[in-house]
Symmetry: C2
Subunit: 341 residues, 2 copies
């Protein structure tokens, strides 16, 4: 199975033409990959110019001197000015306001005659609904994360959060994958902190461990949160069961046609019923990026996470995160094979 780049380019072409822009430009490596299949090193900057005629043109640094073997329409650019010279001749040009650097934008504004307009949304929209190839890739990333979590689950007790996070990446690498974001490992009370950086706190069998991790394999991401424990005290048990119930109700409610705001309202209501406060979003789109838009009205074949969490300072926290595939009727939980205890 291979991605149908021509189909993706047709969808983008239609949106560019509809917007009245003559071209759009982006340096988001995920957009570049989505529309062309081109992937460089993580830190390489690649620009895509997409004209209303529908064919993407890529601009890369001379250091990417094998680029032409990966994609036919490659232009090498030495520096900013050299690049901007290649962008002349358009009346209205869209740019990706999320990833374009301020330095480059200011130079473009100064030197180009084109009217520059933010157009990140245009490039983002086709990516929201996943095709069959993408769903298979995301499933594979989830499968590897499940496999790694099972493996690391046998290694937790007595090790530090940092050691556990390192062990997770080692297991990903052994499987040809790598982490899609810095794993969050919280031992005991540290789980009260949502974006806790793994540190020296030791995982002890009596206190639950929260692990929020995901991997990239062949450019597609997973993102899963699970709790590990040998037993739960009464307070922890109550929080755990409450989060699990909210998690289940949110997943049950998520389907094509429902809006993200409606899900947020439901989340607020479910939290309020149990006197908890909502600290973070209920989930996010997932695909080439670990956080990507899921659209306001959920559409069929959107892949997103559902990740309710409750955090109480001095006690700890519980978060349960699964990946779902939005369907017209019952939504599919892509991560259902990773056990929630």
């Amino acid at each position: 199975m291979k991605p149908d780049f021509a189909a993706r380019q047709r969808r983008l072409k239609a949106l560019v033409q509809k917007s009245g822009l003559n071209a759009v430009i982006t340096s988001d490596p995920h957009d570049v990959f989505y529309y062309t299949g081109y992937a460089g090193l993580k830190d390489d900057r690649i620009f895509m110019l997409f004209q209303d005629s529908g064919r993407p043109k890529l601009f890369v640094s001379p250091l990417e001197n094998d680029a032409a073997s990966k994609y036919p329409d490659i232009t090498y650019i030495r520096d900013k000015d050299d690049f901007i010279r290649q962008l002349g001749g358009f009346k209205r040009m869209g740019y990706d306001e999320r990833t374009l650097s301020l330095l480059l934008f200011r130079a473009m504004k100064k030197k180009l005659k084109a009217r520059l307009e933010p157009a990140g949304k245009i490039m983002e929209i086709p990516r929201i609904q996943k095709d069959e190839f993408e769903i298979a890739q995301i499933k594979e990333a989830i499968r590897l994360t499940g496999d790694v979590l099972q493996n690391v689950g046998g290694f937790l007790w007595g090790n530090s959060e940092k050691q556990i996070a390192d062990a997770i990446e080692i297991e990903y690498r052994k499987r040809g994958a790598s982490e899609s974001f810095e794993s969050i490992v919280c031992a005991g009370k540290q789980a009260a902190f949502v974006h806790h950086k793994p540190g020296e706190t030791l995982a002890k069998a009596k206190a639950p461990v929260l692990i929020d991790t995901g991997c990239i394999v062949d450019c597609y991401c997973s993102d899963i949160t699970r709790m590990f424990f040998t037993r739960l005290g009464p307070v922890q048990k109550k929080i755990y069961e409450d989060v699990k119930q909210i998690h289940d109700e949110l997943i049950y409610a998520a389907r094509a046609g429902v809006t993200y705001s409606e899900l947020e309202d439901l989340q607020k209501k479910l939290y309020a019923k149990k006197s908890y406060t909502v600290l973070h979003g209920l989930g996010h789109g997932l695909g080439l990026s670990v956080h990507e838009p899921q659209g306001e009205t959920l559409a069929e074949n959107t892949v997103m996470t559902i990740e309710p969490g409750v955090y109480i300072k001095g006690i700890g926290g519980v978060r349960l995160e699964d990946v779902i595939l939005i369907k017209k009727k019952r939504t599919e939980v892509l991560s259902k094979d990773i056990p929630i205890f």
Copy 2:
């Protein structure tokens, strides 16, 4: 040994006052760490507001709910607008044009009365000359990379570039470090491509393997390139010896007071003498970032790489990269213990 944050803040304060700005703002995590010691997860966005009175103020998302335990002056911001509201009251405000997002800049420009001026250089300058603490940290990152290269050297033949790159990260993680950039592993002819993404090509004993890798440990980076081979053919041997000679001459010439342009001129001359062309820069500053400015006139205690390379399509390439510490007289090669064969 601990970093002297007060001294760093005094240096920045002097530069801000000299520029006439009332405050500077950055979202570069390395700047934030350098001036405050605050480190979050890799993908977290932290903003530092540094007023001409000399005290940095940090702004973080509510998800960083353990931030206050890491730094005293923390403000939680819910979103862009909430953040911009906190930035009022300044006449002239500098911003980091390299890292500030276009989206945020446009909103700031619309809502703030302050005159906004690019000021990335101001925050960058104090970071160029490394203090004793930083040099020790960089040395440790180099030591780990040497250790990992030695280990991985015994594992090369018969494995693919991707497998070797994964093995490198596994070895870093076993040592509590992680890669500072995606390792470049080129087997045989692939070494003709500077930014080659590790792929399925197998390392074979008869063709040299180029490995360009570095790690981060406790926030500081290394960056080393070595060639691995069992024997070299006559053409490869000639290229190898030429690159080694250029490498040695560049390192010999690099010392306090010499300008980067002078080194570039020398590089051009050395390449021309042997009928090679220069494809990339001769080196770059190294510290909290794997690529950071080294200043135009090299100053004592600047840490930078020297990395000459020669690339010939259909044959391969040779790059040798070391990390040096600029001194008044003879420059110190911090990576001298990692053997060049």
